[in-house]
Amino acid sequence: MATQTESRFSRYREVFLSFLSDTWIGYAFVIPATIILAVIIGYPTLRGLYLAFFEVSLLNPEQMNFVGLENFAALASDPIFKQALWHTVLLTALAVSLQYLLGLGLALALKEKVPGAGIFRSLSMVTWVMPVIVMVIIFRFMVQNGFGPINILLDSLGMPTTYWFGEPGVAFPLIIVMHIWRNVPFYAISLLAAMQSIPKEQYEAARLDSAGPLQRFRHITLPQISYVSMIMIVLHVTFTFKNFDIVYLSTGGGPLGNTEVLATYVYKQAFEQYALGMGASIGVVMLILMLAFTVIYVKLEEVD
């Protein structure tokens, strides 16, 4: 009996050890990332969700008053919040759709053997790699009153000059332009890669099938870049929706709240008004909206 028990235990031990040896490397790889994620993403998210139901001041974070859904009720009647939400949606919709269309056009142009396309392809990623602050400083310099190149040009044409980031009605379009300038090459490169994976025989077959250039684009190119297109669009919708740096560094949400977006409003509530709870509740609204996009993204990933 004793030997039998012993052998049974040794068998368990073997199975357990083989399980360990098979999986421990896997765990070893996964655990550090999981811990880092938990610390830098998991904890702040949960903490943010928690804070959204309290009235907390940044100046005295120890003192927290539970207020239930009052923060959200206040948001619902806050005109600035509504304006920021509208600006965010508008910015996302305009920037992403314009980026996509221009990126698609650029990709089509690059696909043809335009001289210098190769050099452009390498250089174009510069806008995407450049730190946002550098880009914003360049733009601010460009529209600088007095010696900004754009104003010099406008002046020579006899048109009005001003610091355009400070001009209501111009600041918001300028922010869209910055998003476009930054991201169009990235769209173009991604779409170009997708286009180049389409064998040229398909285009030749389509030519013999009497399809003209537009029909070839519509029936051959477009369906075969649709997957990459959707991924690019969904990713950039989330990027743009939560974008803080471009707006905050260029206009800080001004002039007169003309470029206020949710991300800048969160920051202002939490760190300028010291209303930590209020800021957290805006964050929760953003989180919910972003989750919706994430679900779409995950669904798209599953399609492939």
Binding site: E201, Q202, A205, R207, L208, D209, S210, G212, P223, Q224
Partner: protein
């Protein structure tokens, strides 16, 4: 009608290093309903020719004439030709049905149900109605091939262009499809220009073969013409498998009669052969097909002594690789003959089977005598007489 003429077709590609002449002054006349196979080694210009005919490349010079009208400068869609590609080039995001419908939708104003019924009829003919709702990725190579054929057939074009359509299939399927394609072409009666590097396909499928090399026309003729009466050494070597054996020989007229002298043997020429090659210098290439090589006794006239290097028994026949003066040659011998490696073998080249080429130009000066048609004629005559008798009884 689908009478196709290729007139003085020349295609030059610009490359960094200079001009590459892909097709050089090519003339081909193709009758309505004919199946013409363009054959040649890689880079001989056969695909370029096909693409020029289809309008995918514009010729540097020359004309493509379809039913008396020059279509050289017309876009592919105006030419009423359909092409089958080696890679099939099916649209991956469309079902087989949509693939087949695409050309009709683009090129014609046919009503939807007409398109539908034409696609279904074609699918029926090709035996693929159950594949219509599937996408290319769900199909095997052979099935994709059929859909690609269907896409071409459903258009009912004047000319089919086929660019190595069977090359991506496995050997067994290729043989099957070869027969099927040939039958299909005969049933449809559509002029077909077929490109392949496989001389077996060329031999078995075509009404006439066009042999190309380095962009230049070598020969146009029926498969058997190209086989038995090659116009030059290139055609002789390219058509037929295993290839024809070539011997570099010199003409010696100093002895009793004209003799071709090779390092390994001497070959006394007949008067009529000598008459054909006389006046073309002294250096020639003697050619003989492996299956025309016969075994001989050592004392026989014109016998050649050889050493057996390797044998490849295929069952029905045996390929014997022989060494003559340090060069390897092939003979096809009967399959039930046991031949050991390393033994000495005496062979002869029957006088009515030899080819002689000019060593410089490669031009055929003497071809083997044409095989008699009489035997088969008399045989079929007998058969029909028999059957007639049978029906009387």
């Amino acid at each position: 009608m689908g009478e196709l003429e290729i007139q003085n077709l020349t295609k030059v590609f610009q490359d960094d290093g200079g001009d590459i002449i892909a097709v050089d002054d090519l003339d081909i006349e193709i009758k309505d309903g004919e199946l013409i196979v363009l054959v040649g080694p890689s880079g001989c210009g056969k695909s370029t020719t096909l693409r020029c005919v289809g309008g995918l490349e514009s010729p540097t010079d020359g004309d493509i004439v379809l039913d008396g009208t020059a279509v050289t400068d017309q876009k592919p869609k105006k030419r009423d030709m359909a092409m089958v590609f080696q890679s099939y080039a099916l649209y991956p995001h469309m079902t087989s049905r949509e693939n087949m419908e695409f050309g009709l939708k683009m090129a014609t104003d046919l009503p939807k149900d007409e398109i539908r019924s034409r696609v279904e009829d074609t699918a029926e003919m090709l035996g693929i109605p159950e594949l219509l709702e599937k996408k290319p990725e769900e199909l095997s190579g052979g099935q994709q091939q059929r859909v690609a054929l269907g896409r071409a057939i459903v258009r009912e074009p004047e000319v089919f262009l086929m660019d190595e359509p069977l090359s991506n299939l496995d050997a067994k399927l290729r043989t099957e499809m070869r027969t099927e394609l040939q039958k299909l072409q005969q049933d449809l009666g559509v002029t077909t220009l077929y490109v392949t590097h496989d001389q077996t396909e060329a031999m078995t499928m075509s009404d006439r073969i066009v042999v190309l090399n380095d962009g230049e026309l070598q020969q146009i003729g029926t498969p058997l013409e190209c086989y038995h009466e090659p116009e030059n050494k290139f055609v002789a070597g390219f058509i037929g498998s295993p290839s024809m054996n070539f011997f570099d020989v010199e003409l010696d007229t100093s002895g009793d009669g004209p003799t071709l002298v090779h390092e390994g043997f001497k070959y006394d020429l007949q008067e009529e052969v000598y008459a054909d090659i006389k006046g073309h210098g002294e250096r020639f290439t003697l050619g003989i097909r492996p299956e025309d090589i016969k075994l001989a006794t050592a004392d026989e006239h014109n016998a050649v002594t050889t050493t057996v290097e390797v044998t490849e028994p295929l069952g029905e026949v045996t390929y014997v690789y022989l060494e003559i003066a340090d060069q390897q040659y092939t003979a096809t011998l009967e399959g039930d003959m046991v031949i050991e490696t390393g033994r000495t073998l005496t062979i002869r080249f029957p006088k009515d089977r030899i080819h002689v080429f000019d060593a410089e130009t490669g031009e055929a000066l003497r071809n083997r005598s044409r095989p008699d048609d009489e035997d088969i004629e008399s045989l079929t005559g007998l058969q029909s007489a028999d059957s007639a008798q049978a029906s009387v009884e």
